[in-house]
């Protein structure tokens, strides 16, 4: 955290920084596997790679999650359902597009495949590979953490805007937001 500890053991920091610290260190992805990439996603969660260590726990319900890892080919038929899941996730939320298929259609330039999930869902991090290795996925997740730290407020963070409205202007100017 960008903060300083004074002699009494207090930490002074900004609300912004505090929120982003909380968010980036407890990213909970939704358990959704679409295709081959999902197997590597499972591997990232299982014995050897164990992304629990990074505070990432897969949640089966979109309502409890804040990261959508689109792992696999998104075909046209599944696109509206995936979009529904995205809409069900509470703000703030991020989306990772894992693998060539999710990023741009991958090896399937066909009549039935969506050419990139970013056409229906705004993507924060693209991970190349077919499939990306679990290391690749973990690197992508770390990049997302970096992005959250650096970008602070993203454009779909309505909740944060609401939160700022609740605070009095003096307090806001006091903490430098």
């Amino acid at each position: 955290m960008a903060s300083s500890i004074n002699g009494n053991g207090f930490i002074t920091t900004t609300v912004d920084e505090l929120l982003s610290w909380g968010r980036r260190n407890a990213l909970w992805p939704v358990t959704i596997g679409l295709a081959c990439c999902a197997i590597e996603m499972m591997h990232a969660a299982a014995s050897r790679f164990d992304i629990d260590r990074l505070g990432m726990i897969f949640r089966a319900s979109p309502r409890q999650a804040d990261v959508l890892i689109v792992a696999g080919t998104v075909v046209n038929k599944v696109a509206p359902m995936l979009k529904l899941i995205w809409d069900q996730m509470p703000e703030p939320k991020w989306c990772i597009s894992m693998g060539g298929c999710a990023s741009a259609g991958g090896p399937f330039p066909t009549y039935s495949t969506l050419q990139g999930v970013d056409r229906i869902i705004p993507v924060d991090v693209y991970i190349p590979g077919c499939p990306p290795t679990p290391q690749g996925l973990i690197y992508g997740l770390l990049e997302l953490q970096r992005k959250i730290r650096e970008k602070k407020v993203t454009r779909y963070e309505k909740a944060f805007e609401e939160f700022k409205k609740d605070l009095s202007p003096e307090l806001l100017s006091g903490i430098g937001v």
Binding site: T31, I32, G33, L34, A35, C36, A38, I39, E40, M42, H43, A46, S47, R48, A60, G72, T73, V75, N76, K77, V78, A79, P80, M81, L82, L84, I85, A104, P107, F108, P109, T110, Y111, S112, T113, L114, Q115, G116, D118, R119, I120, I121, P122, V123, C130, P131, T133, R155
Partner: protein, 586 residues
């Protein structure tokens, strides 16, 4: 597997004068002239000639012919293991349905309707199988382009939100094929249901328990399921269409992405089909390497089944244990192929690389260790009371179901049908190694569990024997038959030899023409019989390539077996059928 013998064909010919018989080296088929007679012929084949094992039904499109669509059944006699294809032309896009004779044809016919727009008389449920209702086209017709028809503007939201960058973040076409909305999907759902129960329960399409993107609709009466609809196509990527547009060797990596848990086995089935068609001999070393990797892959795939199947029933420990072993196998594969999951290790005519240094030692150690690990899994589940309660006498599949629905693999063997392509039509080096086929006896989930566990043991045995054979081989044995004109020489030769470089260049750019003919060839995948039917017109890419998917047919029995059972049994049953969506939908 041998094709139907001349005696059998004579007998059939005697019974039906109006059929002609076409015998090719790797394909034997009956041509039925009279479309209306097909029902009688199929009945005769099933009841009198014992061709009662339904393997596949598919359609080929010939736009220039009078009747345009040709339907083809592939049947097997499970007692003599003879295989036979039956061809029949559609009359004004219609064919009598075969679903009364072979219930397995029900889904196959729906798929044919979806892809070709052909109709089946007497089939009340011909709806879209993979696409959604209201989809306007029939994609596998020859006049439909691979990329579909762009009709909708769909910009990348990254660009919309973040603004355009120069140069553009990626190069893409703003026009896109039609993407359905929620209304289309709801319509697809509604068209499927004639509600029978008090309550309709949705399971999937994006649910961890469905192993991918399957969508089940259960009609419930109390806790019991009285009707099931399965909506597929949430991973339909158009594999068969892709194959028609690529050179033979280019399709190989796509087979990895079908049943992504058993990449090497898929490749093996595919290269085998092409090799039969082009008459390519494979060196002994390559055959052993293929066998070894296919069996490692089988263990790998069964481990995933074990882990997720147990996870579905609440046993998390097994999942973590199974993945520990999976990582080790993937390391071996990665060390040789350079890739963990979608390995693309085999080549037409051999394998891509010679064995990497140390592979045999690592594999040897792995197998030695694996036997004890297998005991550990047995210790966790086999006599576990909860496991027994959830799996014993649940989801019983009878032998008759196996034949009529065309179930293969461990699902068939769990019900006591000893149908294993590795034994009845040995390919790679399976005729040179010793192994047993385990069969179950009741056909419940527990039996299928035991069959798969034993299969892992047998696979380990095969790997051991392959290692032994490979160790004895001299170092510089050829691992690819690079003399054949259709085989791309391996990289080490390409960089050192002018002739090989030119050949490689020629094949990669122009492809190599494969002789005219037809072939149906299959391999034993961890999930069942994966077959490739190739219709070649002498070009460098197939005219029609049909993938006979094991998961697809195995899943088709699900609605029948789950009838009057509970939801919790559905989870156990689906886990034991172990479908992979990449392959059901292709």
């Amino acid at each position: 597997m041998p094709w139907a013998s001349s005696q059998t064909l004579d007998r059939i010919k005697h019974a039906f004068r109006k059929i002609t018989i076409d015998t090719q080296p790797n394909f034997v088929c009956l041509n039925v002239e009279d479309t209306q007679e097909i029902t009688n012929i199929l009945k005769h084949l099933k009841d009198i000639e014992d061709f009662r094992y339904f393997i596949d039904f598919h359609v080929i499109d010939f736009p220039k012919e009078k009747d345009r669509f040709l339907g083809q059944y592939i049947l097997v006699n499970p007692y003599t293991f003879e295989r036979l294809a039956v061809k029949v032309w559609f009359k004004s896009n219609k064919l009598p349905t075969a679903k009364e004779i072979f219930p397995g044809a029900k889904w196959a016919e729906r798929e044919a309707y979806d892809m070709f727009g052909v109709e089946f008389e007497g089939h009340e449920d011909v709806k879209r199988m993979f696409m959604w209702e209201d989809y306007k086209y029939f994609p596998l017709r020859k006049d439909f382009p691979l990329g579909g028809i762009p009709e909708q503007k769909l910009p990348s939201l990254t660009e919309v939100l973040e603004g355009n960058t120069f140069p553009p973040s990626h190069d893409y076409d703003i026009m896109h094929t039609y993407v359905p909305n929620m209304k289309d999907i709801e319509k697809t759902e509604k068209s499927r249901i004639t509600k029978k129960g008090q309550l309709v329960l949705n399971w999937g399409p994006l649910h961890p328990g469905t192993h991918g993107t399957m969508w089940f609709l259960f009609d419930l009466e109390g806790e019991h399921i009285i009707q099931t609809d399965v909506i597929l196509g949430q991973l339909h990527r158009g594999m068969e269409k892709i194959a028609e547009n690529l050179h033979y060797f280019q399709f190989l990596p796509y087979t990895d992405r079908m049943d992504y848990l058993s990449a090497v086995c898929n490749e093996l089935s595919y290269v085998q089909a092409v090799e039969k068609l082009a008459n390519i001999e494979v060196p002994l070393k390559a055959r052993y390497i293929r066998t070894m990797f296919a069996e490692l892959q089988r263990i790998n795939s069964h481990l995933l089944w074990l882990g997720t199947g147990a996870l579905d029933l609440g046993a998390l420990t097994v999942f973590l244990y199974a993945f520990r072993e999976r990582e080790k196998i993937m390391d071996i594969i990665e060390g040789n192929a350079g890739f963990r999951l979608t390995s693309a290790f085999l080549r037409i005519g051999g394998v891509h690389y010679d064995l990497a240094k140390g592979t045999l030692e690592v594999a040897k150690y792995f197998v030695k260790d694996f036997y004890s690990k297998l005991k550990e899994y047995h210790g966790l589940l086999t006599r576990n009371r909860i496991w027994l309660k959830r799996t014993k006498d649940v989801g019983v599949i009878t032998q008759e179901d196996v034949y009529q629905y065309g179930l293969t693999g461990p699902v068939a063997r769990g019900s006591g049908v000893a149908y294993d392509i590795r034994k009845i039509d040995p390919y790679a080096a399976y005729d040179l190694v010793d192994f047993d086929i385990p069969v179950g006896d009741i056909g419940d989930v527990y039996d299928r569990y035991l069959v798969r566990m034993e299969e892992m043991y047998q696979s380990a045995r095969i790997v051991e024997q392959c290692i032994e054979a490979l160790e004895k081989m001299p170092e510089n044995e050829p691992y690819v038959n690079k003399k054949h004109p259709a085989v791309i020489p391996p990289k080490e030769y390409v960089f050192n030899d002018l002739e090989d470089m030119v050949k490689s260049f020629r094949i990669v750019v122009h492809g190599e023409n494969i002789p005219k003919g037809e072939v149906y060839s299959s391999g034993e995948n961890p999930r069942g019989e994966l077959g490739f039917y190739i219709y070649s017109i002498g070009k460098s890419s197939p005219y029609r390539l049909r993938i006979r998917s094991c998961s697809f047919y195995n899943l088709s029995v699900f609605p029948k077996v789950i009838y009057k059972h509970t939801i919790s049994d559905a989870v156990a049953l689906l886990g034991s059928i172990d479908p992979v969506v990449g392959e059901t939908d292709r």
